[in-house]
């Protein structure tokens, strides 16, 4: 899907088709029932009794009346059947709507319109404002109509009722005509044909309603029905397994080869799986690239493993789609009834969890559900709620860690970091929330809060550390690729009135694809005077081309290179190379993660680096705590065990 608009459109279409199918199925059922009532009663019985009982619940009406033209020249219409028996035999004045219905028109009324005036028959309590539906009906060889009435005050009939009335009117008129002609052979044949057509169309409708149109496999609703049936038929001790299959990287197939190829792949995958499963197993497609297989007769658990593994292996074999070879794979999760769930919904959910686990561990693998997975999923769910609440409550705050001149101890800048403070006042480290926040797409909001915090306290920070201090803000690869976010961020920093006091720290990964960043964001940064720093340098691509293209202001050497630098000659050589490059290009080089006095002494003695950052100097502090603290000189040699996760 190109965007949510396309998704919405597809869903609207799907819903419209489903609604249409449901309506058509209901209509077909009802018509069969009503037609059956007309045709199957014995000669002396009133066929309308069956027709009324079939129609009235569906049309949700309180009265049903059949009027026909009288045989003689009497004015008005004769009531020949009614849900209120006392009305039978009454004469009705022929008004315009009745006349139109007699002429073959289906009519339903608008609100507050006076319907046909009843003859004042006991049992027919008319106010005259009842919503009405008129449908023509040929009865006893004469023109007639059926009038359906709802109670006064109820909503009127809609277009679906009109459509149904049209079908019924046609079929019932034929049926009555045939019956009246004592069902000649030809008419009986015609009716039989009509009935067979209806039954066939009902079957086709049922199939369409229960099967996915692309693959012709049972759809989500039908799979649920089949699994519930299978579960209900199980005796004590009998098991059933549900395998949840998700194609890996299916979106890429659509993106690279187009949606037609994606659809073709789904069809081929379905065929291949259908050939791989046993006769007693059930295969269904529950959405996009998600399939379910129900393994119905299980001898031993090892049978499940063997079968699922076979499916997994078969799906790894290449597919030839529209002249292209596609190498798919599928991650599969398995849950077993009754041990992992007593109903379809629980089994599917648990198999889904196992599939998700399999995908994380290694795409194309298989995982069985266990309670540990459920525990993890629950914990994740709770954390998700906590994070969303924390965002609502503005419980993410800015913490700052100093960047210092390692030779003088002067503070030259700060790195802004996000911290979550829960309602008990406990501060949570970034590793406990950043990965999930990233997955949930909450990082932009968290970054906003951190910058707002920082912006608010800028005057006090200036008063304390001077206006020349620069503040670095971390940007994730996803954020760097999100042009809208980046443009808004630049605007936010501009709005502080001093954007040149800020620097964005991006990892090498963010800069691996520099195109859009370079064309859309970098000019904005340059124009605003916002600095650009490459974080964790030396661990990723360390691309000189990127540095040349982006003209960065700062390189932050990754802590892994700084750690024990005094004892690691190879790290020392790399450091010297980076330092030389920085000097040659006029890029400031910062040593990150300085934790020991030995590391610091080495950097001071053996390199020309000036700026460093690490727990040796300063541990990140919440803004409020930092501003409350009495000014003090940096503290080299500070507790090295309090190392914060990156």
């Amino acid at each position: 899907m190109e965007g949510s608009e396309e998704l919405r459109e597809a869903l609207v279409t799907l819903r419209r088709e489903n609604d249409l199918l449901r309506v058509e199925t209901t209509h077909a059922n009802l018509l069969l029932k009503a037609l059956d009532a007309v045709l199957c009663v014995d000669g002396g019985d009133d066929p309308f009794a069956g027709v009324f009982s079939a129609l009235m619940p569906v049309f949700d009406c309180s009265h049903a009346i059949v009027l026909i033209e009288p045989k003689n020249e009497t004015e008005g219409l004769e009531c020949v059947a009614s849900s209120a028996p006392s009305a039978v035999g009454s004469l009705w004045a022929q008004d315009k709507l009745l006349e139109k219905a007699l002429a073959g028109r289906i009519i339903t009324t608008v609100a507050d319109f006076d319907v046909a005036a009843g003859p004042g028959v006991p049992g027919l309590d008319f106010t005259g404002r009842e919503p009405a539906l008129y449908l023509p009906l040929g009865v006893r060889g004469r023109r007639g109509l059926m009038l359906l009435l709802r109670s006064d005050g109820k909503p009127g009939f809609d277009r679906a009722h009109v459509a149904l009335a049209k079908k019924f009117s046609l079929l019932a008129s034929h049926a009555f005509a045939a019956k009246r002609a004592n069902q000649t052979e030809m008419e009986r044949h015609r009716l039989k044909h009509l009935t067979e057509q209806l039954e066939a169309s009902q079957q086709a409708l049922r199939h369409r309603a229960n099967h996915d149109q692309l693959t012709d496999l049972p759809n989500r609703a039908y799979i649920e029905e089949l699994v519930e049936e299978a579960i209900a038929s199980k005796l004590e001790g009998e098991e059933l397994a549900l395998a949840f299959i998700d194609l890996d990287n299916f979106k890429r197939v659509n993106d690279i080869h187009g949606h037609a190829a994606g659809d073709a792949l789904l069809r081929e995958v379905s065929k291949r799986m259908r050939c791989t499963i046993r006769h007693s197993d059930i295969l269904g497609r529950i959405s996009g690239d998600e399939f379910v297989i129900v393994l119905n007769h299980i001898g031993r658990h090892s049978d499940i493993s063997a079968l699922v593994k076979r499916i997994c292996n078969r799906l790894r074999e290449p597919f030839h789609i529209e002249g292209t070879e596609i190498h798919p794979s599928a991650s599969i999760g398995v849950a077993i009834h009754p041990v992992h769930g007593g109903d379809y919904d629980t089994l599917r959910r648990h198999a889904d969890m196992a599939m998700y686990h399999a995908k994380i561990v290694s795409k194309g693998s298989i995982a069985f559900f266990n309670r540990q997975l459920e525990k993890k999923a629950t914990e994740k769910h709770i954390l998700e709620q906590e994070l969303r609440n924390a965002l609502d409550m503005h419980a993410f705050h800015c913490a700052l860690q100093q960047k210092v001149d390692i030779r003088t101890g002067a503070i030259v800048g700060f790195e802004a970091l996000a911290r979550r403070v829960d309602r008990h006042g406990i501060m949570h480290a970034p590793m406990t929330f950043l990965p999930l926040a990233n997955e949930l797409g909450l990082l932009n909001d968290i970054t906003d809060l951190v910058i707002c915090d920082l912006e608010r306290e800028l005057p006090r920070l200036d008063a304390r550390f001077g206006a020349g201090v620069r503040y670095s803000v971390n940007i994730t690869p996803n954020q760097a690729a999100n042009m809208q976010f980046m443009q808004r961020l630049v605007e936010q920093l501009r709005n502080t009135g001093r954007p040149e006091s800020f620097m964005l720290e991006l990892t090498e990964e963010s800069l691996a694809v520099t195109g859009p960043f370079q064309s859309h964001v970098l000019p904005l940064l340059r124009d605003a005077g916002i600095g650009l720093s490459i974080d964790d340098f030396g661990t990723g691509y360390s691309s000189l081309a990127t540095i040349a293209d982006l003209t960065v202001d700062e390189l932050k050497i990754d802590r892994s290179l700084i750690s024990s630098i005094h004892n690691r000659p190879r790290s020392q050589s790399i450091l010297r190379a980076i330092e030389s490059m920085g000097t040659a290009l006029g890029i400031s080089v910062v040593a990150e993660g300085i934790e020991t006095m030995e590391e610091n002494l080495y950097l001071m003695a053996q390199t020309g680096l000036r700026i460093g950052q690490g727990y040796l100097f300063h541990k990140p502090q919440l803004l409020t705590a930092l501003l409350q603290e009495t000014p003090a000189t940096p503290r080299p040699g500070h507790d090295r065990n309090n190392r914060e996760p990156a």
Binding site: R8, R15, E491
Partner: protein
């Protein structure tokens, strides 16, 4: 059997355009039952109406001015064009009625609908579709009045008449001629069935806020003033609405925040949306087009909003506005009782704002509709507000596209 013919002509003068129209119509059946007419606001209404009445004397007439002309299966007709859709359906019933929106607009609409039903010889009957063409400004009240009679049991489709420069020169044309500040209602009882669709081509950009204060700017000389619903958003999340909106759209209105003024051109690709319901958890939006920044940072819009509503910032792309017209036409045709193969032709209402944004690529919009209507006759008008049924509810929105397909 329903047959449709569509004609679109241009002419420097109205007389010339009508002469061209008379030539194009030629031997078209004069027993037409329903005629839709849309034309550039530069043309003279009376001459057009006189021609229609003389040529299609028994037809129910409905239409009015359309921004910079019309489009048809032959392409974009362009400025100074006049378009006709002529529908012949001996087994159907069609009626129109018109009124000026004096007094309570909802009452006017209710009365006009009953009059249209009378004119169609279908008093009291639920039509298959109600087609409206009206002056911009009171669309919600008009729909409310129509809904009193038919609820959401029947789709209400149509548009708000437009001129070429939002100068207020829009007019409407009904069975008795042209009207200003009016409403024309058509009721359609077709024999071949009708399909319809109402969609927008935008999606949320991420930002949203709650409307915390609304102002009301009465349109015309009537209207119910309420504190909680209107076309001026004074504040969003407690801040001046224009400032918040300006932030949402990346500061594009910076230079107009203080001076105020018309912002239509700046906001066509960035309307606001309101949540009108969900399908499978995916929200559908009704679009609202901010048109002016008013004093004190209030935002004027082309549709009413209630206090407490969450507004979503939406974004559009030119390519989507082009392709969307075709998709809406296809959706309407697919809804016909006999499917697309029974299509006889159709009507399309395309937002004038979208048209201005699409600009010189508008011929592609006409082509997209033509392709999806399988080359069958259609007439498209360009409006300053669109009405249609979204998720089963009749509503007024902006920057939307409506289509009606007629079955044979």
């Amino acid at each position: 059997m329903t047959t449709l013919q569509s004609f679109a002509v241009t002419g420097d003068t109205t007389a010339q355009a009508i002469a061209n129209l008379a030539h194009a119509v030629g031997e078209a059946p004069t027993g037409a039952h329903f005629v839709c007419v849309f034309y550039d606001a530069e043309h003279e209404d009376d001459a057009i109406f006189d021609f229609l009445r003389a040529r299609f004397e028994r037809a129910a007439i409905l239409g009015g001015t359309s921004c910079n002309g019309v489009m048809s299966q032959n392409g974009l007709a362009g400025s100074r064009s006049i378009g006709l859709l002529v529908l012949d359906d001996p087994l159907g019933n069609y009626g129109t009625a018109a009124t000026q929106l004096h007094g309570d607009a909802a009452d006017c609409a209710e009365r006009t609908l009953h009059a249209a039903l009378e004119n169609a010889d279908c008093a009291g009957e639920l039509p298959e579709l109600i087609w409206v063409y009206q002056t911009p400004g009171q669309e919600e009240a008009v729909i409310e009045g129509l809904r009193r009679v038919v609820g959401d049991r029947c789709p209400i489709i149509g548009g708000s008449s437009a001129d070429n420069d939002v100068g207020g020169q829009w007019r409407q044309m009904g069975p008795d001629g042209v009207i200003h500040d009016g409403l024309v209602v058509g009721v359609l009882f077709s024999s071949g069935g009708i399909g319809f669709a109402f969609q927008g081509g935008y999606e949320p950009s991420g930002e949203s806020g709650i409307v915390t204060r609304i102002g009301y700017d009465p349109v015309g000389d009537s209207g119910v003033v309420t504190q909680s619903c209107g076309r001026q958003i004074i504040s969003i999340d407690g801040e001046p609405a224009a400032e918040v909106y300006n932030r949402w759209i990346g500061g594009a209105l910076e230079d107009k925040l203080e001076s105020g003024g018309n912002i239509l051109a700046n906001t066509t690709m960035h309307p606001v949306g309101i949540d009108v319901g969900k399908i499978e958890g995916i929200t559908s939006y009704l679009l609202i087009h901010p048109d002016k920044i008013l004093a004190d940072g209030a935002l004027s819009t082309f549709a009413s909003i209630e206090e407490g509503t969450r507004l979503y910032s939406m974004k559009g792309e030119r390519t989507r506005l082009i392709s969307r017209a075709g998709k809406v036409a296809a959706a309407a045709a697919a809804m016909l009782p006999g499917g697309e193969s029974s299509l006889a032709g159709g009507l399309v209402v395309y937002c004038g704002g979208c048209m201005l944004a699409v600009g010189e690529e508008m011929p592609r919009v006409a082509r997209a509709v033509t392709e999806n209507f399988q080359g069958k006759p259609f007439l498209g008008c360009f409006t300053f507000g669109e009405q249609g049924a979204i998720l089963g509810k009749n509503a007024h929105g902006n920057l939307m596209i409506s289509a009606v397909a007629f079955g044979e």
